[in-house]
Symmetry: C2
Subunit: 413 residues, 2 copies
Amino acid sequence: MKDRVQSNQSESFRRSSRRRFLKSSAVLAGVASACSDSQTVVDPNPGTLGVPASAYGQRSEFETSVRQITPSATPEAGASRTPLDDSFGVVTPSALHFERHHAGVPRIDPTQHRLLIHGMVERPLILTMEEIFRLPQVSRIHFIECSGNSGSEWSNPRPNAQGSHGMVGGSEWTGVPLSLLLSEVGVQNGARWIVGEGADACRMHRSIPMEKAIDDIILAYGQNGEAIRPEQGYPLRLVVPGWEGNTHIKWLRRLMVVDQAYMARDETSKYTDLMPDGTARQFTFTMEAKSVITFPAGGKRLDGPGIYQISGLAWSGRGLVESVEISTDGGRSWLEAQLQEPRHPIALTRFRLPWEWDGQEVTLQSRCIDETGYIQPSREQLIEVRGLNTRYHYNGIMIWKILADGSVENAYA
Amino acid sequence: MKDRVQSNQSESFRRSSRRRFLKSSAVLAGVASACSDSQTVVDPNPGTLGVPASAYGQRSEFETSVRQITPSATPEAGASRTPLDDSFGVVTPSALHFERHHAGVPRIDPTQHRLLIHGMVERPLILTMEEIFRLPQVSRIHFIECSGNSGSEWSNPRPNAQGSHGMVGGSEWTGVPLSLLLSEVGVQNGARWIVGEGADACRMHRSIPMEKAIDDIILAYGQNGEAIRPEQGYPLRLVVPGWEGNTHIKWLRRLMVVDQAYMARDETSKYTDLMPDGTARQFTFTMEAKSVITFPAGGKRLDGPGIYQISGLAWSGRGLVESVEISTDGGRSWLEAQLQEPRHPIALTRFRLPWEWDGQEVTLQSRCIDETGYIQPSREQLIEVRGLNTRYHYNGIMIWKILADGSVENAYA
């Protein structure tokens, strides 16, 4: 399958480039004859000295991509979305990583910050950041996704990928394995859960089963090579690989070891899924396989028929993305996309596929298959099981519609 | 070997934590009894609403790590160094990635920028950035290293890792495979090299053999998930995996296909290695295996005897880092460090090893072994072959000396 796709890509590109050469040959005629004199090439910047090296860099003034802030009557309880439409590769720039705050971003002096580990433990501990920095460290690339991400697609479809799927981001997280600290404090018999609590004004807290706590949770203080950003939990957050973002407690100040779930506000009145029969799913922690095409996506416009590269992101809370398939014929047939290697488990995975647009109206959709064999469902399949009463854990297939004028829309809008 | 190291780590940590528990039990006595009332824990931020979500994030005001700017009479021809001492994981934050400019950072409007591909080709091309964005895309994590990195260690040892080894950085680069474009323009018989030229005031240019050009070079426009930073070549640079940084032409405006090397200033008067016999090595492109311990490193101070985690970075221009070994006894014996997985070829690779300091003066050194079997040489072995007349391509083992007061120095200083 892969070989065929690659050979298609090469063939498509050859055809595309022939066209481009023909199209641009008039322009090239003048330029090619002047090749020995580079000054005849358009040169907006001839020989001007630039600016010297700097202590801390900024992006180009010509780059304007920003997070989209969700309007909120109480801005401290708000959110912002990653501009996935403008993203490259699998690393989300920290400055553009989505946010979700329940009481704003606290200003924390790391020298004053403490982590308390207590409850059903033999040896409760208070740790300073300096002490935490001395402990054995791991780094892993993982996505974090709000369980409300793409929740708009249940009933209020958004016009672009930032709006529909922008509450996800991928980073290299660095910190201490929680299992190590739990082993040090000595978990008592009968302890079944931990409760993590943040230092924000609302003391955001969530209950996490002990099996996950001793599996792969990281007490993270590093993000993409530097200290974790303030809006991501500076100086310390839980990274709970593959679980809903709300459990990745930011500004972490306390871990309490307990015998049962705490039934916090964010695991009872929120972050539960009301099912068609009136019961509610609770503690639906794992973010299931999902994908979204980020180009061409809603809000973009194709510049006429020709070859384009379909590109997007896929991820699964259960491990590796095994494959991503793309349909350009309404789901009748599927082509396997190329995946960026090496893939990282529980991480954003970039997929790409060359595609020729003939200028007719068409839909594009992608589906993620993860290493467990789970196949991302269609919107219809998802609604059939889960109904329309919930705002969380939507992972239906996203469909973009290309109109004849090249503009792109959410097919469900 | 790995199993033994891991078991050592666990054992070391157990011993360390026992000590810490004993040390802190007096503090814990008061806190543990107050566990049910979290307000009794030091809380510098009690219940204050934080700031709302923002369009483009910044790091915490408490983070002060910056690039170290090399003093220069002509600041536009200057450099800055990555603060490796403060780094986590393997991604270098773009804002802290080292710089080396020969005529400053030009201000380039991407809508005005053009790439000319000409010379010994069948179909010369001028491409806009929009056209380049439409071409098939790849993303890869690679290091870029100035060939002058750690050149100080030939004869003027620096006091810390930023000063000695800070002219290296690791990023996820996204762009178009150069092989694809060369195939499109049709390379003529007899063409053996390409010359890349930048849009900076000095028109920085370098010759690169055709074999490398069609192997793995990327025309990169993305860095760590967003547009490449201005000081890294916005909007377009060559990424020449594993080769000296000077060949990764920034602000790329022109690729000329030629029959022989151009003998540019930066491949004759500079970036050559004067050997002991008076001859000079030229076109020594590949950056050989290297490593540096970033903690504990020069300028840091250990807070008394106890368990610490040795951490550092290793890389090789020839592919994967196969292993990193650490000696704490002057090179008599070597322990294998743990490597951050998955490793990426031609990329920074984080290594870690727990270590107990007994409070005595001691030296720490690391050596990188790459997938070709090449072993990073000692400073003495390197000087024996290459002499002391060059400033480039130093890759000798770095040795840090821990003094009895916990301070750390360059052992060669």
